[in-house]
Symmetry: C2
Subunit: 341 residues, 2 copies
C-alpha cells in the first residue's frame, strides 16, 4: 500500500457527529496523501464536506450507514441488531482490506466486540488488549495495558500483552528494547497473586523482551518502565483512579480559589499553570487507545473526546498503519514462541 | 476501660525513632487522660522522655525490646527470628488486654502477619483488611479497602469487607447508613469479573447495608460513595497509581517553573497553592491505615510518615479504641449473618 486509507466512524462519541466531523475534516486537509472513508448517515456527512476543495473532496469517500451504535447499547445488541452501523462498517472495511485502519469514539464495549468478532486475533494471541500511552515525568510516556478489554486474564494473556506492548512501544516511540514491567503490589518476588507470579516466571525466561520485573502503581508515572502490563480489571482501575485524582486536583484548585481575595489572586495565576499540567498529565485525554493483537488496526478515541483528541486518534491510527504494527506484533510473537520451544 | 492505653512501636518507619518519638511525645502532652506504652530500645527511648514533666512521665511506660523489625525484613522472619521486637510487643499488649490499641510505622507485611497471627480475626471474618480514608471533592472522605492485606479475595471476603467498611465509616465519620460501593470497570450489571459479580449479588441481598452498586476508579474521588470495596491487589494499585499521579502533578509544576521568568513567577505563586492541594489530596500522607477485622485495634502509619502523620495515626487508634470499633464490627457481622439465615 502506498497511500493510506483510514475508515472513520462519524457517528460515535458523546458529542456526536459535529465534533467528529470537525476533527475528520482537519485530518483530510492535513494529510494530502491519505484517503478517508467517512462512515455514517449521508445526510449528516454530505453538508459538512462542502468546505473542502475539490482535491480534498476527492480523497473522501462516504459510506452511508443507517444504524448508529449508541453509547449505552449492549455489545451483543450492537453485534446482532444493528447490522448497518457505522461502527460495524469501519471494522469491515479493515477486514476486507479496503481500509488500513479505523477510528471510532463510540461505545468501547461494542467496538471491542465487533473488532474481536470480525478481525480475529493474530496467531498466538488469545485476546486483544486495549492500550494507551500515559504521561510520566519529563515528557516521557509509558504504555499501559490492558485497560479493560479483558477482565479475566490468565498468565499466558499477560505474557502476550507484554510481547505486544513491547512491540507497540518500540514502534511508536522508536526506543529500542523498551523496558517491560508487570504491575504488582510490591517489587519483591514473594509479592502478588498467583496470576502475576506465573507471568513473572514466564517473562523472566524470555530473552527477546527487556523484562525488568515488578512495578507498583506509583511507578507507572515515574519513567521507570516503558510498558506496564496488567490484567484488564486492574488496568482499568489504575487508569480511572488516576484520572479521578487529576480531576480532584483541578476541582480543588477552583474551589480553593473562591475562598478569599488572596487565594483568588493566587488562583488566577495558578489555574492556567495547573490547566497546562492537567492537560499534560490527565490520562483521560492523553491519547487514543489502540486495540492490539488483532489482524487489523483499530483505534478507540475517548467517548468524551474533543475534536483535538479525535484528530490525534486519527494520527495514531495512521502511524500504526504506516509502521504496520499488526505485522510487527505477529513477527515478534513468532520469535518469542520459537524461543520457548 | 475508662482511661485508654496505647502501645507504640517506637522503632518502626523509614525515618527511625527520632520522628516517631517526636510524634509520640506530642500525643503524651496532648492527651492527659491517656497512657502510652513505648516499645523499643530503652537506651533510645529513655533520654527522649527527659523533656516530659512528672505527670506526663507517669503516663509513659517503657517496654524494652531488643529486636527491631527492619523495613525490608520478610514477614516470616519477623514472626520467627525476631522474638523480642517492638512490633511484636505492641501487638501482644493488645492481645493481652494491656493496651487498647497499637500503632506502628514499620514494615507493613510484618505487621500484617504479626497482627493476623496473634490477634486472630473476628468470628465471621476470613481475612483482615487494610483500610484508609481517601480525599474526595469538598472535604468529604471515602474509605477504601482492601489496600493490600489480601491479594487473593473471594466474593465472601469482599462481602465481609463491605460490612466492616460500613461500620468503620459510620463510626469514624458519624454518617448514618454510609453508601457502600463495589469497585468495578463499569457501572452496568454485565460489567466485571466473576468475583465482583458474585459479591454484587450477595450485597444486593443485604438490607443491613446501604449498598449502592458498582463504581469505577474515578468515582473514588467524587464523593459518590462513602465506602469503596475491592480486593487487595486492585485496591493497592488504585491507591498507589493515584499517589503516583499526584506526585507527577507537583513535579511537573516544579519542572515547568524552571522554564523561564514568566513561568517562574507563575510557579512561585502557584506552588504554595498546589502544595496545599497536594497535601489535601495525596492519599499517601492522608491518614494512617487501619487493619480491621481483628480482635484488636492495629493502626499502620505510612513507613515514610512525618511526625505529623504518625501523630494523626495515634489519634486514629485512640478514636477507634474509644468507639470500640472491633466490637461494633463483630455485632454488625452477626446481624448480617443472621439476616442471611
Amino acid at each position: 500500500m502506498s497511500k493510506l486509507t483510514i475508515a472513520l466512524d462519524i457517528m460515535g462519541g458523546d458529542h456526536g457527529p459535529p465534533v467528529i466531523l470537525s476533527a475528520s475534516l482537519r485530518a483530510v486537509r492535513q494529510h494530502p496523501d491519505t484517503h478517508f472513508i467517512f462512515c455514517g448517515q449521508r445526510a449528516i456527512i454530505e453538508p459538512a464536506l462542502a468546505d473542502l476543495n475539490s482535491s480534498q473532496r476527492e480523497r473522501v469517500h462516504i459510506e452511508h450507514c443507517e444504524d448508529v451504535v449508541e453509547m449505552d447499547d449492549k455489545p451483543a445488541s450492537a453485534l446482532r441488531s444493528k447490522q448497518d452501523s457505522s461502527m460495524k462498517r469501519i471494522v469491515e472495511l479493515v477486514e476486507q482490506g479496503k481500509a488500513d485502519a479505523c477510528v471510532s469514539a463510540g461505545n468501547t464495549g461494542a467496538l471491542l466486540a465487533l473488532a474481536y468478532y470480525r478481525l480475529k486475533t493474530l496467531q498466538g494471541v488469545d485476546r486483544p488488549a486495549l492500550v494507551s500511552f500515559m504521561p510520566t515525568a519529563g515528557n516521557h510516556k509509558v504504555l499501559l495495558l490492558d485497560l479493560g478489554a479483558n477482565v479475566n486474564c490468565t498468565a499466558d494473556t499477560l505474557f502476550q500483552y507484554a510481547v505486544m506492548g513491547s512491540v507497540l512501544a518500540e514502534q511508536m516511540t522508536g526506543k529500542q528494547a523498551p523496558r517491560v514491567a508487570l504491575l504488582n503490589v510490591g517489587e519483591e518476588d514473594i509479592k502478588g497473586n498467583a496470576l502475576v507470579k506465573m507471568a513473572n516466571q514466564q517473562l523472566k525466561q524470555t530473552p527477546a523482551l527487556n523484562y525488568i520485573g515488578y512495578v507498583e502503581g506509583d511507578d507507572i508515572f515515574t519513567d521507570y518502565a516503558d510498558v506496564v502490563v496488567t490484567d484488564g480489571f486492574t488496568g482499568n482501575v489504575a487508569l480511572k483512579s488516576s484520572e479521578g485524582l487529576a480531576k480532584l486536583v483541578v476541582n480543588e484548585a477552583k474551589r480553593f480559589s473562591a475562598a478569599n481575595l488572596w487565594t483568588r489572586t493566587m488562583a488566577r495565576v495558578a489555574l492556567p499553570l495547573l490547566k497546562t499540567i492537567y492537560n499534560r498529565v490527565n490520562p483521560d485525554q492523553y491519547n487514543g487507545a489502540s486495540l492490539i493483537g488483532l489482524r487489523g488496526i483499530v483505534v478507540k478515541s475517548h467517548g468524551n473526546a474533543s475534536a483535538d483528541a479525535f484528530y490525534y486518534a486519527i494520527n495514531q491510527a495512521m502511524q500504526e498503519a504506516r509502521l504496520r504494527v499488526p505485522e510487527k506484533i505477529k513477527s515478534k510473537i513468532e520469535t518469542v514462541l520459537l524461543e520457548q520451544l
